[in-house]
Amino acid sequence: MAGKSATPATYSPSPTTGKTKSTLLKENWIRPDARGFHQCRPAFFRTGAVNAASGSAYAEFGNTKVIVSVFGPRESKKAMLYSDSGRLNCNVSYTTFSTPVRGQGSDHKEYSSMLHKALEGAIILESFPKTTVDVFALVLESSGSDLPVVISVASLALADAGILMYDLVAAVSVSCIGKSLVIDPISEEENCQDGSLMITCMPSRYEITQLTVTGEWSTPKINEGMQLCLDACAKLAKIMRSCLKESASDAQDESS
């Protein structure tokens, strides 16, 4: 994509392209980053981004860059009552420079609870009673599909921390623009979407942990959107799994 910096680790706010709605509503429009409608952005995952955390992961989907660290399981706060099962505490925050307009990231207060809801079904909470696992996500650069990326990276970080889970959680969203469904939308597409559908699922178990839909959808369209998301989730989970295997084999090489 144009404007991609040479070193991806450098934080730089994405250049705001002046794409307006009209360009996206033409009959035969192409996506601003020239992807196919059903083509995801290339995903890059790396575990172990933060040393202090029990587990962490970093990911880049195009210009969307997210870092997630997992702390714990550690003792729950004193005020918490005794509980047989573990607790999950999630927080999603944006850097002030993550959005084209400074400090816009605070619009997404509901993301923390959505992350919690997406993950709680996948974690075996009974495996760490009386304690809390903290999941902190930071969006370094926001460029569309932030929440699905955060959720996928968070599940990778949890796996890196060795928290017992039923399966990895992969999340993908599709946007409905005009009559077409586009997968993994970027900000410009999200800003003019007529509807959106996000699925977080555990691909190996073929179970949906969280599902949100906005805008008007007919049943066949929901069907199509869900299938699109589920297929993409399965592919995404494969990439995540290979990233975990890579880091595990690296660790083995070092110790031997």
């Binding site: 709605k21 207060k109 509901e110 609870s113 809801k117 709680e120 079904g121 996948a122 409905c176 999200e190 800003n191 003019c192 979407q193 007529d194 509807g195 959106s196 699922c201 555990m202 178990r205 073929y206 179970e207 949906i208 942990t209 969280q210 599902l211 949100t212 839909v213 906005t214 805008g215 008007e216 959808w217 007919s218 049943t219 929901i222 069907n223 869900m226 589920l230």
Partner: protein, 286 residues
């Protein structure tokens, strides 16, 4: 939280499996719904909805404001839900905050559609007075007076009723001298425009207990749920929003099945609501 003994839990689950719930209802039957409109004179529109012992009040206030920078052709709608501690001691202080936020987001998703405004129950373009300069800001406030399960459906119904009760004052605009100037407006306090609510969807929450799902769950039944899916559906039978609660995963085919069941149920609910709203309006006027 509801504390239930093992026996009670089995009783509820068994009842749902046999399509006979504790209060004698079938799985897809609602409790009696009662609608009253015009309960708050200070608001532009208001309604009180009772479903069983759940009681919620919704009020709509319209204020003149400026359209947002990115969307000069749309008015603004704000939805806030307050869970009063009079409903449940657990809501005291910050206790109700989490639930309030969850309900507001869900209602936002169900009523306002996507960013472009397509498929929204509330047509925001109808709120514009002068494009780019003046629009109506709708403040929709929901209050949970008494909580006995199924809050989201009740709030959705109350907002629908309150909106159909809403009268927006008609406005006379005197254009300013130059284009940049803010035009002067004269708000009439006698003439009101009725708000069009034909597109406002109804919200149906399907609560999954065991292998079956039920509508209008009581707190006892909610405590036994594995997950719940709230689906908002409009008159055309199109889905306007889906939110999922509860941790357990769902098979994709179950979700699609839920959507078709919700479609069926929402039709009955919508008819019931419309007739209740009509009779409440008639009572209000007399």
């Amino acid at each position: 939280m509801v504390g239930l003994s093992l026996g009670e839990q089995h009783f509820i689950q068994g009842g749902i499996a046999q399509d006979l719930r504790c209060d004698g209802r079938k799985r897809l039957t609602y409790r009696p719904i009662n609608v009253e409109t015009g309960v708050i004179p200070q608001a532009n529109g208001s309604a009180r909805v009772r479903i069983g012992a759940t009681e919620v009040i919704a009020s709509v206030k319209a204020e003149l404001g400026k359209p947002g920078m990115g969307q000069p052709d749309k008015g603004k709608v704000f939805i806030y839900i307050d869970c009063s501690s009079t409903a449940e001691p657990a809501f005291e202080g910050r206790g109700g905050e989490e639930l309030s936020a969850e309900l507001s987001t869900a209602l936002h998703r169900c009523l306002l559609g996507a960013k472009s405004g397509a498929g929204a129950g509330i047509d925001r373009t109808s709120l514009v007075v002068v494009e780019g300069k003046i629009c109506w800001d709708l403040y929709i406030d929901g209050l949970v007076v008494s909580s006995d399960g199924n809050l989201l459906d009740a709030l959705g119904a109350a907002i629908k009723a309150a909106l159909s009760n809403t009268g927006i004052p008609s406005v006379k605009v005197t254009p300013g001298a130059s284009n940049d100037e803010q035009p002067e407006v004269d708000v009439s306090d006698e003439e009101f425009l009725q708000f069009d609510t034909s597109g406002v969807p109804a919200i149906v929450t399907l609560t999954k207990v065991g292998r079956h799902y039920i509508v209008d769950a009581t707190p006892e039944e909610e405590s036994q749920m594995s997950s719940a899916v709230s689906i908002s559906i409009n008159r055309k039978g199109h889905v306007c929003g889906i939110t999922k609660r509860g941790g357990a995963g769902l098979d994709p085919s179950v979700v699609l099945d839920m959507v078709s069941v919700a479609k069926h149920v929402s039709e009955q609910l919508m008819n019931k609501l419309d007739s209740e709203i009509a009779s409440a309006e008639a009572e209000d006027e007399s």
